[in-house]
């Protein structure tokens, strides 16, 4: 190996190590959190923004993973039930006990299941044309068969708008904190879920056959019905 090549190899080795050591030292030299928090003040608006981001993340998980969980749990329960069915066929007491567990489990939630006929991307153009005064679009996420928008106002009240298509849409709302009522919005079947607990949102669910619209908010049902109605008013 020529001298140049040896020198290059040495330089390369030192260079790589220097990068690593330099960065490691830089991270180690960061002051502790007490000192940092005294020197760098994050604005209250920013802290609120981060809190909303984490809440939004939790909402998304609640909407998606609850569906996933119930789907999986239902499969497991059906499998167990099928397994037990054979051995417990002659035992009526055991059969009654299993049945009660499933009913009790489903009793906690009211499930709305929809099948739509719309194509994947055509849902993307449906938005509310009415929002209460002071509300603005805070974030919007558009997926293949799902649009998820959060509207906020200056008092940090929020309206969550969801527009879905797909061959199987399941929405679960817990019974303990909601009262349900059928409704009609612009000629479409709608379901109202009135919250009985201030920690839980009111909800309006509208199905058109092509789409399922959901509007969730701590605001009154009258207001969010108006928001849902405006989706169909062009």
């Amino acid at each position: 190996m020529s001298n140049d090549k040896i020198n290059n190899a040495i330089f390369e080795a030192f260079f790589r190590q220097a990068i690593k050591d330099d960065y490691r030292e830089e991270i180690d030299s960061i002051p502790n959190n007490v000192e940092l928090s005294q020197k760098y003040i994050l604005s209250p608006a920013f802290e609120l923004r981060m809190k909303r981001l984490f809440e939004q993340e939790k909402q998304k998980k609640t909407l998606f993973e609850r569906n996933n969980f119930f789907r999986q749990a239902a499969i497991i329960l059906i499998a167990i039930a099928t397994l037990l069915f054979g051995t417990l066929l002659i035992n009526s007491e055991a059969r009654a006990a299993i049945k009660n567990v499933i009913i009790e489990w489903y009793d906690k939630f009211t499930s709305f299941s929809f099948v739509t006929t719309s194509s994947q991307t055509s849902h993307a153009n449906l938005y509310p044309s009415y929002l209460p005064e002071g509300f603005f679009e805070e974030s919007a996420e558009i997926y293949d068969n799902f649009t998820f928008i959060i509207y906020m106002n200056g008092d940090n009240e929020r309206i969550i708008f969801v527009n879905s298509t797909g061959s199987s849409i399941n929405i679960y709302i817990d019974n303990e904190h909601h009262l349900f009522e059928d409704h009609i919005i612009n000629g479409h079947t709608a379901y109202l879920a009135k919250s009985t607990d201030p920690d839980f949102d009111n909800a309006v669910i509208v199905t058109t056959g092509e789409y399922v619209i959901e509007v969730w908010s701590p605001l009154s049902l009258d207001v969010i019905i108006k928001v849902a109605e405006s989706v169909f008013e062009k």
């Binding site: 960061i30 994050l42 981060m50």
Partner: protein, 186 residues
């Protein structure tokens, strides 16, 4: 019923984990973001965007210990700063190479550097003279062992661009060391 509670616990645990990570690292990330953007609002935007990225890859990040996460979070927030500075109106039409001048090392001019005797120390001393974007690329390449493609995705650059940037950084470093040697010999 147990399955239901376990599922809820997982969600609650992840939510607590995210909040814990945020509280532990927000100030350090803000410090770096402020240093790069020199603007409180932009720095906060960068930290917010960094956490968006962290949330999207939380399975990867939640398993890291405090030190490992700190190392990675600094890189992430710096990348977000670069994105924001690029998008800022003032720099929207400016080529990426000019952006690096804005993020150039802020130490003394090369001619005034005091050199050390060995190659390794020379390189360490001149690290601060590399522009921030090149440093980011080098850290992602050599510290985190990321591929050119992965680095390019983070910084919105092509793999070829990454390769050229690394080569330029090495060439610059060699020149800096040579200049230091001449200065020392004088």
């Amino acid at each position: 019923m147990l399955l239901l509670y376990c599922a809820m616990l997982d969600t609650e645990h992840e939510r607590d984990e995210l909040t814990k990570i945020y509280e532990e690292h927000k100030h350090a990330m803000f410090m770096y973001a402020l240093k790069m953007t020199k603007d409180n609002e932009l720095a906060e935007d960068a930290v917010h965007n960094a956490f968006l990225s962290i949330i999207n890859h939380k399975e990867k990040y939640f398993s890291l210990n405090h030190k490992e996460f700190r190392c990675l979070s600094v890189v992430i927030v710096k990348n977000k700063c670069i994105d924001l500075l690029r998008k800022e109106k003032h720099y929207a039409q400016v080529p990426f190479e000019e952006l690096e001048l804005y993020l150039d090392g802020d130490e003394e001019p090369i001619e005034e550097q005091v050199i050390a005797k060995t190659t390794y120390i020379d390189i360490r001393n001149n690290m601060k003279n590399l522009d921030e974007i090149s440093r980011q690329v080098l850290i992602m390449k050599y510290y985190f062992d990321m591929s050119y493609k992965e680095i390019g995705k983070e910084l919105n650059m092509t793999p070829k661009h990454i390769d050229i940037r690394i080569m330029r950084a090495k060439e610059k470093m060699r020149k800096l060391i040579k200049m230091d040697e001449k200065y020392y010999e004088q």
